[in-house]
């Protein structure tokens, strides 16, 4: 290996890092005061370069014993993360008037890119230590983003809570990784898998995997490690919340699926009804069941739409983990596919929530009244996003959920009752519950008259563009899921 080879494999990360540094420089020079547009242009250019580096870069490679991995799957997900970040960046600059961000646009963008850099590292590694470093980089940037645009006291409180929960989770993760290293003698996922397949399981290993699961549970906001999510989603500036709910969650599920299935497939255990066997599958099944029930039921009672989206996101973590329990190639495909479309729908929903927040100063259900008349584009996209989250055809959420549940059941032997049916039945029931609270929002949007004194919410150009792209993705993929499914399938074949 020489440095040229190394650089060619991490070119996307380098592009993002350099852009972030340039933006910090612009911030110091006061460049963002005059022109939010310049910041946006630099950000978009940097992301575009990184995307080009992903698309035209090397197709495969495994450097430094799995520290840097490039294959079809990592390239696909790096591209997804870059696209979602670009969408978030456009929301950061709602046509010049930057909410609480006056004069801090450059720093905000730089933080966004640093968080993205962390996620790119996470996606592109099979080394537990580098994975941890990437997660921490992303988390630190996100803590700052949450608190950065604080106009009043609340975001600081939310950020502090996020930070405390996050640091404890990070400690759990690191502690778990150290046990895993102790039990297997390696921090390379592939080596770990080989060791586990060849040798009897050390008693210390389950402890390590369990501790790591706590850390991961925090990352994807699974119950009971979800307590930070509602406050952060509600109090953070909308773009930051959108990023946490989309890109960060996509990367979270990517890494959970990869670590558990690739590294610890051997110690899966079983969560089948009547045939429980110890391993990580029963733990994940419990997390999934709790997340679905708590997330969806708590969402019923919310008045703030962003809080509602936070709880619905917790519920979705449960849906996604449901499939992960099956732990085969089909399940990983379903998990990755759903996490991507969840990211797209979340981004759109938070984008619209941000528009309403700017116009009305709050995001209670009543503040969405009349949106259908004053901002039809935003209202339409919000409807598409929420109905896709509810899992209704012809939107892609339907196929996504269907595939999740089909995958969860796919592990069973033909002719018998599928063992995970209990979990899938619970998921379908909770999915029906979720329709109720999504319809509550849409009822306000389309049928409630706007209060006469309220400032009307109007569509903004950049936000509308992102919304429309998200909306068309949701419809197009709903009609032709194979557009993403086939590349994903091909990428996964290399992995398994």
């Amino acid at each position: 290996m020489n440095y040229l080879e190394l650089i060619s494999h991490v070119l996307p990360e380098i592009a993002v890092l350099v852009t972030a540094l340039v933006l910090i420089g612009m911030g110091c020079a006061g460049g963002s005061r005059g022109g939010g547009k310049a910041v946006l242009a630099v950000t978009a250019a940097g992301l575009g370069l990184a995307l080009a580096a992903v698309v035209f870069g090397p197709e495969s490679g495994r450097l430094l014993e799995g520290m840097i991995v490039v294959d079809a799957l990592t390239r696909l997900f790096k591209a997804v993360l870059l696209a979602l970040t670009l969408g978030t960046a456009l929301f950061l600059f709602p046509g010049g008037e930057a909410g609480g961000n006056e004069g801090r646009g450059a720093e905000n963008s730089a933080l966004l890119l640093l968080a993205l850099l962390g996620l790119l590292v996470v996606v592109g590694t099979e080394n537990l230590l580098l994975l941890f470093v990437g997660l921490e980089l992303a988390s630190l940037a996100l803590y700052l983003m949450v608190v950065f645009a604080a106009p009043a006291g609340r975001p600081a409180e939310a950020a502090l809570r996020y930070f405390f929960f996050g640091s404890v989770a990070a400690a759990f993760l690191l502690f778990g990784f150290s046990f895993i290293y102790g039990a297997t003698g390696s921090i390379d996922l592939r080596v770990i898998a080989k060791v586990l397949a060849a040798h009897p399981v050390e008693p210390i290993l389950p402890l390590g995997v369990g501790l790591a699961l706590v850390g991961f549970g925090f990352k994807v906001a699974a119950v009971p490690f979800h307590l930070w999510a509602p406050d952060v989603y509600q109090s953070a500036p909308a773009p930051a919340a959108g990023f946490i709910a989309s890109a960060s969650k996509v990367a979270g599920f990517f890494i959970v699926a990869k670590v558990l299935v690739l590294g610890f497939g051997v110690v899966e255990g079983s969560a089948d009804w009547g045939a429980f066997a110890m391993g990580w599958a029963p733990l994940v099944a419990v997390l999934a069941a709790l997340s679905m029930v708590v997330g969806n039921l708590a969402a019923l009672a919310q008045q703030s739409v962003r809080r509602l989206l936070a709880y619905s996101g917790i519920g979705h973590s449960g849906f996604i983990l449901t499939a992960l329990v099956a732990a085969n190639a089909e399940a990983v495909r379903a998990v990755l596919f759903y996490s991507v479309i969840y990211g797209v729908a979340s981004l759109a929903a938070f984008g619209v929530a941000g528009c309403v927040l700017r116009a009305r100063g709050a995001d209670r259900l009543e503040d969405f009244a009349g949106l259908g008349r004053t901002a039809p584009a935003a209202a339409g996209v919000l409807a598409l996003a929420l109905l896709s989250l509810a899992g209704l055809p012809p939107l892609v959420g339907f196929f996504g959920k269907f595939q999740l549940f089909a995958a969860a059941l796919s592990g069973g032997t033909p002719g018998t009752v599928p063992g995970l049916l209990w979990l899938v039945a619970l998921a379908l029931l909770m999915s029906a519950v979720s329709l109720y609270y999504y319809l509550r929002v849409l009822k306000q949007v389309f049928f409630a008259p706007a209060p006469a004194d309220a400032a009307p919410t109007r569509d903004t150009s950049a936000g509308t563009a992102v919304c429309l792209v998200c909306g068309s993705v949701l419809v197009l993929l709903g009609l032709f899921p194979s557009l993403v499914l086939q590349p994903l399938q091909r990428a996964l074949v290399q992995l398994f």
């Binding site: 018998t416 329709l435 319809l439």
Partner: protein
């Protein structure tokens, strides 16, 4: 080719959503054009359908099969047999009539008709799909437009009724999804094709719980007692066109799913649960009719009568005799036509003019003189609904009763009570709405002058539906023959002893 049935509706719906606001006046014309365009492929399907194809073949004609989502073995597979043929004819008929009866929608007509066409598209798709995933897509497409139509354009207690109806539908679909996934996983096949899965054999233990889950999921949408409570509120709150579609077509989606998917997939489960579900259907016949007798709102009367009539459908298909099944399917068509007609009279002809549906109030208005055409249509529709000979209801219910006689003689008792009660509540409603002496002697020759006259679209729509009800009643053979033929196909043959 048959894909154009729902494609025209989907295209029409998309056009309406994108129609600029200042062209809103065009909306109903666009909708009518889309619905009529959807009739064309239906007509072609009837024309090119080979009625004498005979048994032995898979039983489906005019098939379309394309690769769609190969990763999960999902194909875009459509086909027509005798049962789906008569049901797409019904859909085409009700689709056109519903638009004619909502010609006067003033509030956001673009979105009204766009949502309306989405339901039509879903209905066509359900009746034509031979792939279970494709079926589910169409089956669930219907749910949200129903909610928006009722919550946005409805009347009495619309918000609550719309949510209740939607949640019942989504829970029903959840049960259906569980049943379908269980079938796919237990078969060990990498496909969602209905014909392939039905050919697989399932362990009796699985069938014993999978059948009731799947059947009940469908039967909730068909309004089976005691899961019928969403029907009255939802149908009453819905705007006229949506009531027509809900009662006329959407409830049939559930019955069709039960007959086409649940029963052939799990025949042994069916055998075990048949009596229980048939009893529920028979109780529903009597229950719906009895409840209708107690109503004071004309639309509630019709809504409860729907529950009673859909009981006949379920009883017929569960009888597992060729006559009973044919009667059940024919009753779907018959009730589709008659219920649409009744809702059209109650919602469009009466309520939009006199602004009340209270029978006690209507009785004082002397509507026989004021709105003679409405009275004429309602008399005929009531006669059809009671099952008078010469109308479609008669032949369908007789077939069901004959079939039931062979299968469960005891269940004829509640069914018979239901028939008697139907006569009672129909005559009562008819008498109160149109033929009671005006209380204060206000009945006069020019009473009609105060109401807007019956418009041409209404007349055309009423004539269309009446013609269908009479046509089936007087000459049922062309409708029964293809249904009976369809029961001989590989898929359906398992149902008959």
């Amino acid at each position: 080719m048959i894909a154009w049935t729902f494609l025209t509706a989907l295209i029409g719906s998309a056009l309406l959503f994108l129609l600029p606001a200042r062209r809103a006046g065009l909306a109903r014309r666009v909708a009518l054009a889309a619905a009529l365009a959807g009739c064309l492929p239906v007509a072609v399907a009837v024309w090119s359908f080979d009625f004498g194809a005979g048994a032995g073949a898979a039983g489906f004609q005019l098939e379309v099969q394309r690769e769609w989502i190969p990763a999960l073995g999902i194909t875009f597979h459509l086909g027509v047999d005798g049962i789906s043929l008569v049901l797409i004819v019904l859909t085409a008929l009700v689709a056109v009539a519903g638009i004619l009866f909502s010609w006067n929608v003033e509030r956001a007509p673009r979105h009204f008709f766009a949502l309306y066409l989405l339901i039509i598209a879903g209905a066509y798709g359900v009746f034509l799909s031979l792939d279970l995933f494709l079926f589910l897509v169409f089956y669930e497409i219907v749910i949200v437009p129903k909610y928006f139509l009722i919550a946005g354009w409805g009347s009495t207690n619309r918000s609550y009724a719309a949510m209740k109806l939607t949640l019942y539908s989504i829970v029903g679909s959840a049960l259906v999804i569980i049943g379908i996934l269980a079938a796919r996983v237990a078969s060990g096949l990498d496909t969602f094709g209905l014909l392939e899965l039905a050919a697989a054999s399932f362990a009796p233990g699985l069938q014993l719980w999978a059948f009731p889950v799947l059947f009940l999921g469908f039967a909730i949408l068909a309004g089976i007692w005691p899961f019928h409570t969403w029907v009255p509120g939802g149908h009453v709150a819905a705007p006229t066109a949506a009531s027509m579609l809900l009662a006329g077509v959407v409830m049939k989606l559930g019955a069709y799913g039960a007959l086409r998917i649940a029963m052939p997939l799990f025949p042994e489960g069916l055998e075990a649960w048949r009596l229980i579900f048939a009893s529920m259907a028979a109780v529903g016949i009597a229950w719906g009719a009895g409840a209708a007798l107690a109503q004071r709102d004309l639309k509630f009367v019709i809504a409860y009568s729907s529950i009673s009539h859909m009981g006949f459908v379920l009883l017929g298909i569960l009888s597992l005799t060729s006559l009973g099944v044919a009667g059940g399917v024919l009753q779907m068509v018959s009730h589709g036509v008659i219920a649409s007609l009744l809702f059209a009279v109650a919602g469009r002809m009466l309520h939009d003019r006199v602004h009340t549906r209270e029978l006690a109030v209507l009785a004082g208005l002397g509507l026989r003189r004021a709105l003679p055409f409405a009275a004429f249509v309602f008399v005929l529709a009531s006669a059809a609904s009671m099952g008078l000979p010469g109308f479609s209801g008669f032949i369908a219910e007789v077939l069901v009763l004959v079939g039931t006689w062979g299968a469960f003689p005891l269940l004829l008792l509640p069914a018979g009570i239901g028939v008697l009660l139907t006569v009672a509540f129909t005559l009562k409603a008819l008498q109160q709405a149109f033929f009671s002496r005006a209380a204060g002697g206000r009945e006069s020759a020019d009473a009609g002058a105060q109401y807007e006259p019956i418009s041409l679209p209404e007349i055309i729509g009423a004539v269309l539906l009446l013609a269908a009800a009479l046509g089936i009643g007087l000459y049922p053979q062309p409708w029964i023959a293809p249904i009976l033929e369809a029961m001989n196909s590989d898929l359906m043959r398992v149902l008959l002893p």
